[in-house]
Symmetry: C2
Subunit: 140 residues, 2 copies
C-alpha cells in the first residue's frame, strides 16, 4: 500500500464542485432515463407505444415526462406525424449516442454483479438476526 497521502478534503467545496460527475449522473441516470436511452440506442427509433411496451413497468404519464426531459436535454429527438391515428417516433440524438461507450462500460462492469450479491449475502449473514431486527432482505 502506498501511503497515498489521504490529503484533507478541501473545505471550500460546494456540492457541485465536490463531485464533478454528479451533474452527468443527474442527466443520464435519473429515474427512468437509463432504460429509455438504452432502448432507443439499442433498437433505434421507436414509437411511444413501443417504448411503453419495452419498459413494461413504466406508466404512460411518466414515460411522457421522461421523454420530454430527455428531449429538452438534447439526448432524444421527437418526430410527430399528424396522421390518423397520430404517430410519434422517438430517436436518440447524436449527443445521446455519444453515451454509448458509457453504456458499454456499465455493461462490462455488470460482470461484478455476482460479487455484489455475494457481498450482500455475507453482510446479511454477518448482521445475522442480532439486535432487534431489520427483517432480512426485503430490499426494494
Amino acid at each position: 500500500m502506498s501511503d497515498k497521502t489521504t490529503r484533507p478534503v478541501p473545505i471550500d467545496v460546494d456540492p457541485e464542485l465536490a463531485c464533478p460527475i454528479a451533474p452527468v449522473v443527474d442527466i443520464v441516470f435519473s429515474r427512468w432515463t437509463t432504460p429509455i436511452l438504452w432502448a432507443l440506442n439499442e433498437f433505434g427509433r421507436q414509437r411511444f407505444v413501443e417504448l411503453e411496451r419495452a419498459i413494461t413497468t413504466i406508466t404512460p404519464k411518466v414515460l411522457t415526462q421522461r421523454l420530454r426531459q430527455l428531449e429538452r436535454d438534447g439526448l432524444v429527438s421527437r418526430a410527430y406525424y399528424p396522421e390518423v391515428p397520430p404517430r410519434v417516433e422517438y430517436e436518440i440524438t447524436e449527443l445521446g449516442r455519444s453515451l454509448a461507450p458509457l453504456f458499454a462500460s456499465l455493461a462490462e462492469w455488470s460482470v461484478n454483479l455476482d460479487k455484489v450479491e455475494q457481498a450482500r449475502r455475507d453482510y446479511d449473514e454477518r448482521v445475522h438476526g442480532s439486535r432487534r431486527g431489520t427483517p432480512p432482505s426485503t430490499q426494494r
Copy 2:
C-alpha cells in the same frame, strides 16, 4: 418499412432483461451514492464527519443509510475504532475501486454539459410562452 433493421422489440422482455445495465445503475448511481463513492475514491479513506462535510448537503441520517448500503454491496468498507471519542473510517474497496474507469468515462462525458445546457435553452425558447400555461407569478 424501414430498410434500417429497426427490428421489432422482443415482446418477452421483462424489466430487468430489457435493460441489462439497469441493475448496475441501481447499485452505483442510486440517490447519494455517486458523490460518496467519488469522494472515497478521490480522497481515500475518510471519517464519517469528513464525508459529511465533503457532501455538504447530505444529512447524517441519509449518509449513514447510503454508507450501509454501499458497505452491504461490498463497495465500501467500514472500520470502527472504539476510542473516545469514537472514530469510524470508511474506505472504498477493491470492488469499488473497479468503478474508477466508469467514473473517468463520466468525467469525460461532462464536456458535453454545455451542449445539454444549450439544448435546454433552445427547447425552452422554442416552447417559449406558447400555450396557456403557467401564468407568470400572477397567483399569490
